[in-house]
């Protein structure tokens, strides 16, 4: 079974790589390459897989999941300029692909230390027209 929880954060970013020329940056990222940055209301859907506990009837305590998301993701990402304030975006471009992978990396080992449940996917919606889902190494 899979259960998912949705949270939101707002942040700004600049999609631009120092390894690309000005023309390549514009071609790759379009308006998102604006060096002064822009922002989004990101929606993060975190899905966890496992079997319901026979006593509690729950795969995972969703209150606990909310606390983990608050501590590991929202407190780090919310109302930040990702390129300057959130690792690893001092080194890699904060595309929605890389944001989904980074959130996975921050959460993977936090979900359930007993291993009864595990992280299934992290889906990050950047706009209503674009989202990325990461399911770990496949």
């Amino acid at each position: 079974m899979i259960i998912s929880k949705k949270v939101e954060f707002s942040a700004s970013h600049v999609c631009r790589s120092t390894e690309l020329s000005e023309e390549e940056n514009i071609r790759t990222y379009g308006a998102a390459a604006n060096p002064l940055g822009h922002g989004h209301n990101y929606v993060v859907e975190v899905a966890v897989t496992g079997e319901p506990d026979p006593v509690t009837g729950m795969i995972l305590d969703l209150k606990r999941l909310k606390e983990i998301l608050e501590e590991k993701v929202l407190s780090v990402y919310d109302h930040r300029l990702l390129n300057l304030e959130v690792e690893p975006f001092d080194r890699i471009v904060p595309t929605v692909e890389n944001i989904a992978i980074d959130i996975w990396n921050r959460l993977e080992r936090q979900i359930d230390p007993t291993g009864r449940t595990r992280l299934y996917s992290v889906r990050v919606h950047e706009t209503n027209e674009l989202y990325v889902e990461y399911r770990g190494e496949e």
Binding site: C15, S17, E19, L20, R27, T28, Y29, G30, I92, V93, P94, T95, V96, E97, N98, A100, I101, N128, E129, L130, Y131, V132, E133, Y134, R135, E137, E138
Partner: protein, 143 residues
């Protein structure tokens, strides 16, 4: 690292669900209001899900501008503000149900996918068409 990326597009079009292989009574019973001889329309939403690996330099799994151009040329321009039965060749012989529409979108994209996005590039994994909020059809290459 492999991710799935989903891009959504919208178009508005009209259609009529009517099969020449059925009688008028059977068509009315099967398709209900959608069989209205004058047709009707929807704001369709198309979601394309792509699976690809994230480029280490750009951080992108697909050339989004190329995907947008492909969608505009193959789906949005030919379908937008059209009567699907009359103006899209596939629907002169097929009923433009959400299922057949998803299959037609899939065919159109796959026909030139490798030319535009490369044979080793990102793969089209799923086409979803939302006809209304209560009617969604998904066509995936794995199930």
């Amino acid at each position: 690292m492999t991710v799935r990326l989903a891009r959504r597009y919208e178009f508005s079009a009209s259609h009529r669900l009517h099969s020449p292989a059925l009688t008028d009574d059977e068509n009315r019973a099967l398709y209900g209001k959608c069989n209205n001889p004058h047709g009707h329309g929807h704001n369709y939403e198309v979601e394309l899900m792509v699976r690809g690996s994230v480029d280490a330099v750009t951080g992108r799994a697909i050339d989004l501008a190329a995907l947008d151009r492909l969608a505009e040329e193959q789906i949005l321009a030919p379908f937008r503000w059209r009567n699907l039965n009359e103006e899209v060749p596939a629907f002169r012989s097929e009923v433009p149900t959400t299922e057949n529409l998803a299959a037609e979108v899939d065919r159109r994209l796959r026909a030139i996918w490798n030319d535009r996005l490369g044979p080793l590039g990102p793969r089209l994994e799923r086409v979803s068409i939302q006809e209304t909020e209560r009617n969604i059809c998904q066509l995936s290459d794995y199930a």
